[in-house]
């Protein structure tokens, strides 16, 4: 059995363990409510959003429904992975894993892959259901490009949250601290980032919340690159014609790469020197 097959085999075991867990059973209705539920709501032919806008394109509906990913799926990713390292570390099973000849780097990659699959595969299925709902409600399929971009961006944001959570889990020895780290980080990027943006804008002399102020839009767009949720929306916006927040596609992709590579590298490095 070569290294790649071993990594995939271990990832599959982690995936099966998590996807069949009780917490997944509890989170599944939440995901159904947040993903196909939002797609159903935003694809209502009579819906009028607060700005008077009416989404009539499948990608537009997918974009608004991505709020379900930001609020629901990322939280589920955190709740699924928060004890990815700390539970086995506390029970002593982690020491048994570290005593196996499989390099720690490979174990870390398998852990990330398994956890990520456990949240992404159910979410991907629900996204396909959402696309079908949009087709039924709007009478139009999302283009392959739009659907792929939505899946890719969603897969990335879930990967980022899984890696952050595993990183937090590897730095703590008890479950309480691990979940506090994970939820705290989710809270920061999901709710508090707007506050951070407002504070930076205020300090920079930019009019806060002025929708037609280009300075505010550019600042918000730039600061969003420093948040995984912001990069996620920038990625989705690359498929929307009417949106320009002053961030070029290459900048968005570079930040997506950075958000993928840096925490993963940090986690692998942490696993390499982790003690039981």
């Amino acid at each position: 059995m070569n290294d790649g097959v071993r990594i995939l085999a271990l990832a599959r075991r982690v995936f099966l363990d998590r996807v069949k867990s009780t917490r997944m059973m509890i989170m599944l209705p939440i995901l159904v409510l947040f993903l196909p539920g939002m797609a159903w709501g935003f694809s209502d032919p009579d819906i009028i959003l607060p700005g008077g806008h009416q989404p009539d394109e499948p990608m537009e509906v997918l974009f608004y429904a991505s709020l379900g990913v930001v609020f629901g799926a990322t939280m589920c990713a955190v709740l699924l992975a928060f004890d990815g390292v700390s539970r086995d570390r506390a029970s002593g099973v982690f020491e048994l894993r570290l005593a196996q000849p499989m390099p720690r780097t490979h174990q870390a990659i398998a852990l990330v892959l398994g956890m990520w699959q456990a949240i992404f595969i159910p979410v991907a299925i629900l996204i396909f259901i959402s696309i079908a709902i949009i087709r039924w409600r709007l009478g139009e399929w999302a283009s392959v490009g739009d659907a792929l971009m939505h899946l890719l961006a969603t897969s990335l944001i879930l990967l980022w949250y899984v890696v952050f959570t595993l990183l937090a889990s590897s730095r703590t020895k008890d479950q309480g601290t691990a979940i506090a780290f994970g939820v705290g980080m989710w809270f920061l990027f999901t709710f508090l980032w707007a506050l951070v943006t407002t504070m930076v804008a205020y300090a920079s002399g930019v009019t806060i919340g002025e929708q037609n102020d280009m300075q505010w839009i550019a600042l918000e767009g730039a600061l969003d690159l420093l948040s995984p949720n912001g990069v996620y929306h920038h990625l989705l916006e690359t498929r929307l014609i009417d949106i320009d927040r002053g961030v070029a596609a290459w900048q968005t992709w570079s930040m997506a790469l950075a958000w993928t590579a840096l925490p993963t590298w940090w986690f692998i490095r942490k696993m390499d020197e982790l003690q039981p």
Binding site: M1, R6, A9, L10, R13, D17, K20, S21, A90, S91, G92, V93, E95, L96, R97, L98, A99, Q100, P101, M102, P103, Q107, Q275, P276
Partner: protein
């Protein structure tokens, strides 16, 4: 043969200052330990809590890095230095009290580890049969008793057919029947050339199964050899507990440690310093109902090896200071 040469590892402990609240400094660990593991022998690693037994086992298992020193494997007369990865291939490690939990079955949990070693499902089932868990392959981990968890951990340590087996407090949680079966299994393994290191904070349980013991304290091996040889080197003698009915006999002719009398029964603890002690007692017409030889315990050995008294050893907590210790020859380091 596996040979440890001056291996050292020190845990980093928090030592915050006002300027650097995250500061860490080297603390307790294992300091310059040298040992040899012969094929087919059982080595007992004994010492009080915090002596460094678990740290040393983790270093040999390739779980903790070796900061200084080397571990060599004797292969056909040539010594080959082993890194962490090579160690993990030849060594099986059974950590102390693994709390297996969750809905995963016994077979699945072991197969997960087996896949990390490239072992097959057949090997997993063979091992489960060997440790007496053949009937429990489909049992969820949460339903296992402590003894069964210990057996499962042993099976995990035996994956990959290791030449060296490290067992950290393996008899904890096992009932006497399971412990006897466990010891029998260890003896079987040694006949196949497997070297076993067992750590324990109790000498008594190890006497019957170990070929040699290494006495550890504050991260150092103070003495290594057979229990008798260590006791002799430290100038310690065995004691004999004699019991009888009626009035306590006169033991003033020998080295008496302690004598008590209660409800028509007497107990005397004698130092076994004279040759043919039993014959001497019988010749003096002393009538007894029990004659129990007792070898020196770990506390006595530690006291003799460190020069500390019982209270000091008992209350001693390994600190970052790593105070010098007196070796067998009396020299300090």
């Amino acid at each position: 043969m596996l040979e440890l040469k001056n291996v050292t590892f020190r845990h980093l402990i928090h030592a915050p200052t006002r300027i650097k609240p995250w500061r860490k400094q080297p603390g307790p660990g294992v300091l310059g330990v040298s040992l040899r593991l012969q094929p087919g022998e059982i080595l007992g690693l004994v010492g009080p809590n915090g002596a460094g037994k678990t740290t040393l086992l983790r270093m040999i298992a390739g779980v903790l890095p070796i900061e200084k020193g080397k571990i060599h494997l004797n292969k056909n007369g040539t010594f080959e230095a082993l890194d962490g990865s090579s160690l993990r291939t030849v060594v099986g490690h059974m950590p102390e009290q693994v709390r297996w939990q969750g809905r995963q079955t016994v077979e699945d949990a072991l197969f997960e580890l087996a896949q990390m070693r490239g072992s097959s499902l057949k090997r997993v089932n063979d091992l489960l049969r060997l440790v007496g868990l053949a009937e429990r392959t489909k049992t969820p981990l949460s339903s296992l008793s402590q003894g069964m968890r210990q057996r499962l951990t042993l099976a995990a340590a035996l994956l990959g057919t290791p030449k060296y087996l490290l067992l950290d407090e393996p008899l904890n949680g096992l009932d006497p029947v399971a412990a006897a079966a466990f010891i029998r299994l260890l003896k079987q393994l040694t006949t196949k050339g497997v070297s076993i290191v067992i750590s324990s904070h109790q000498v008594e349980g190890l006497q019957a199964i170990t070929d040699r013991v290494a006495l550890m304290h504050r991260g150092q091996v103070l003495a290594c050899g057979t229990l008798e040889a260590i006791a002799q080197n430290l100038g310690l003698t065995s004691t004999i507990e004699a019991r009888g009915i009626g009035d306590a006999p006169d033991f003033s002719w020998c080295n008496l440690t302690e004598q008590t009398e209660e409800k028509g029964q007497w107990t005397a603890v004698l130092h076994d310093t004279q040759p043919n002690m039993l014959a001497e007692v019988l010749s003096r017409g002393i009538d007894f109902t029990a004659w129990i030889p007792k070898p020196p315990g770990i506390v006595e050995m530690l006291c003799a090896a460190t020069g500390m008294d019982v209270e000091e050893v008992g209350l001693d907590i390994a600190t970052a200071a790593m105070l010098p210790h007196r070796r067998l020859g009396g020299e300090e380091e």
